[in-house]
Symmetry: C2
Subunit: 199 residues, 2 copies
């Protein structure tokens, strides 16, 4: 079935707005960007922008929610792809690192602009973050129970494991010494070491 043209057009407009907002927030930060600049960069008037998003903050929320939800799906898919906790953790950290090295701009906004969200939106994003941390913590706990991991604190281990990937958004630039794949492979091995995996 072909799409209704009006719907397709609205989606194209939203996607253009999304891209313009990502670029603007990445360049000048959320607080340093005006709604007018985002509208101009996406070739529309500020009035037209408000048809799609009520505010600059809502654009940030849409970017943040999409980024967090795709991360949650990626982690869940990796962990559920195998019954082995070590292999599940390896795949999860691999894919998480790949994602951050391939999309550092979006990852920076998603991770470093949370304070700019209104309380209601922040609550929703924090919920997704708790789900992400919970997935990693549970696979660590599963590994400990199965006798293949040894950790002092599963929750802090999960936080540290996720830090490896998140911080790539800060320092990684493409065209440098390592490809995203090389980093992902190494980070997956580091993750197994961090949980004391017995090979």
């Amino acid at each position: 079935m072909s799409r209704v043209p009006g719907v397709a057009r609205a989606e194209t407009t939203r996607s253009r707005l999304y891209d313009a907002a990502v670029r603007a927030f990445a360049d000048k930060g959320f607080h340093g960007t005006t709604t007018r600049e985002i509208a101009a960069a996406s070739g529309m008037s500020a009035a037209a922008l408000y048809v799609h998003h009520r505010s600059k903050e809502e654009l940030l929320f849409v970017i943040s929610r999409q980024g967090h939800e795709s991360t949650l799906q990626l982690i869940r898919a990796a962990i559920s792809s195998t019954a082995d906790p070590a292999e599940g953790l390896r795949r999860a950290i691999h894919d998480f690192a790949m994602h951050h090295a391939n999309e550092p701009t979006v990852a920076r906004i998603v991770n470093y602009e949370l304070d700019a969200l209104v309380p209601e939106h922040l609550r929703e994003i924090r919920g997704i973050r708790r789900d992400i941390e919970g997935e990693v913590r549970r696979v660590v706990v599963r590994g400990v129970r199965a006798g293949c991991f040894v950790v002092a604190d599963a929750e802090l281990s999960a936080a540290a494991l996720l830090s490896l990937g998140v911080d790539l958004a800060r320092w990684y630039r493409s065209g440098g010494r390592w490809t995203p794949e090389q980093i992902a492979e190494q980070y997956a091995e580091l993750a197994l070491r961090m949980v004391g995996a017995t090979h």
Copy 2:
């Protein structure tokens, strides 16, 4: 010898400006903050501010340089406090984590606002960052040569080791589940695992 009053006063003013700039950059980001706001928050006119700092960017540079230099000193002190690479790395990651958990506001500005620096200042800060990474990489290499560490890539290992501490500035809030000391102890152990330290 007592201080010259005029010099002491200038230092107090600079310190007030520094604190006001840290708070403003932390709240609204570098681009979202005006020089006028920093001046007002430190109880002076914008004109008076320019006597001490030529621009908002120079204030960011001063904050960033001070933050990076204190981190470099802390890492050097930890590593040089012992001849044992494992103990040196353990102390360095411990102190680095403590520093980031205790000073997350400054650490966030120092790590996440680099792109706002002018090229000349960015070069200087990048130089200090290379020194910090070099210290960690060298203690890892020393451990490998001494047969007590096993790593695939010392440079990437150093980047990952530093990510643990840096990312605390993003997620750690005091009064949460762990004290800075508890995190520092755990992260030091994780660091030894990451380099495959043989105990």
